[in-house]
Symmetry: C2
Subunit: 256 residues, 2 copies
DNA sequence: GTTAATCGTAAACGGTGTAAACTCTCGTCG
DNA sequence: CGACGAGAGTTTACACCGTTTACGATTAAC
């Protein structure tokens, strides 16, 4: 949990911080009911008038970015928790637990998911400059895949076999990914991560947006199928039966 | 091209039809510039006042549905054209051409794509009762995969091996898929289709929404990678090198 | 040629994001 | 302590949005 009572901050600054927290809280309450997030409604929920919010965000988009960023941060925490419920030595289980939790969260909080996802991805590279490089679900996922690789040592593509533009993207990624502690010859792992992230995000988006047979969504069979098809890529083919039961346990739980 | 001048229609009815066409045209012009589609702007662009539009759609959502439906229809036509540019005997080439065209169109018309995609999928099961069961990109894609199967005869999952809920979904699909002319024991093909559609839609959404390294998007390498990884599922592993050059040719073309 | 459906208008209501000017409450400094 | 100035909030106002209502004009039909 971040900043309890940072004494280096003046009273006004602390008050301002807490107002930011209130803004996010009010926004998320509204999102729990309606898919539309309006600046005026947020202000009203906080007992303020709309123009007052302009002391905290420059415009509506910045409000959305702020909320999206904080949602991502908070959700990532729950994904990490799901992983931490398993043995640290069970990297595959941890990865699968986090991804399943991601899927369950998305289905249970479609509006929050939409605000993080449908956003043009700028995602608050501004406003609150603190904690910006931390959190973000992407970083967690890289970490988890990295752990699987360290424990199971699956084959990763040789970086020189990859297309030029991909290589450039791996050596200096513009997308959240913890990459610094990876030797150049191991950077192919990041490509694997991007492949996996694409698969995962792909199914989940389709499910949340309802672009799939409702019964298939409800059952989670397509989600499992995607994971099953991806498993061999990270050396988890043999372990898949065990992981599948692990997934199905989590699918039963009420999402959210 | 649909209905030239259907003489069974009275003059008023024809006028009304053409107004619908105008509405869609105006909407698409607006979408080409701004991501937001407003009923008032559509009316203004047509030289009408906003309330007049309520003679044609019951509310804003219905306008969106109408436009989304027509966009899907029109876009599907261009996908089909891309396929038809190839030899009818080359089902794999046709499939790949259509999917690549789909991707290029989505990237070139992100707002139109978003309106079709971000929509709760109800997608105008109303308003215009004509041509409703036709078109829809989904149907085209099922057809193309079906052709590949007929020509190449790849292995499809036995329907009885699939989870119950999936089987139910295949026997009576709620999602656009041409399925009637498929024997029960061949219905596993529909599952393959759903898998492929999930993969395709997944990458494209990520690319359009910008949730990927811009350089990777620009190059299309992740798109190609997804197709390459899916190819074996429909028996196209050996043919993939040829298909890949086919894709790359299309990627060069300006999207839109 | 009258009638009635159709298509359009203007006016209005409540909602939105946003800008400007103003007020009040503080923390700071002389 | 008292003045000052920054900060946080208000009110007012504007332009835009979806939507409803009441009212004209056109036009097809009897």
């Amino acid at each position: 949990m971040p900043h309890l009572v940072d004494p280096t901050l003046t009273r006004r600054e602390r008050q301002r911080e807490s107002t930011y927290v209130d803004i996010v809280a009010a926004s998320r309450e509204l999102l729990a009911e309606s898919p539309e997030l309006s600046l005026r409604a947020v202000a009203a929920k906080m007992g303020m008038t709309a123009p007052a919010l302009y002391r905290y965000v420059a415009n509506y988009q910045e409000l959305v970015d702020l909320v999206a960023f904080e949602i991502d941060k908070a959700a990532t925490l729950t994904f990490a928790e799901a992983a931490d419920a398993l043995d640290p030595d069970d990297a595959p289980g941890r990865l699968v637990a986090a991804t399943t939790e991601f899927r369950q969260w998305a289905l249970g909080n479609p509006h929050e998911f939409a605000i993080v996802f449908a956003n043009p991805v700028a995602e608050a590279a501004c406003v609150r400059r603190d904690l910006l490089t931390l959190a973000s679900s992407g970083l967690l996922m890289t970490d988890l895949i990295h752990d699987v690789w360290r424990q199971r040592g699956f084959a990763i593509p040789a970086i020189d076999d990859l297309p030029d533009v991909v290589r450039a993207s791996l050596e200096d990624p513009l997308i959240p990914a913890k990459v610094e502690d990876l030797a150049r010859e191991d950077r192919g792992l990041v490509w694997v991560y991007m492949q996996g992230w694409t698969q995962l995000y792909g199914v989940v988006v389709l499910e949340v947006m309802g672009h799939m047979d409702p019964r298939v969504i409800e059952s989670g069979e397509m989600f499992i199928d995607v994971i099953r098809r991806f498993a061999p890529t990270i050396g988890l083919a043999e372990e898949m039966p065990r992981l599948e039961t692990l997934i199905r346990e989590r699918l039963g739980r009420a999402p959210g």
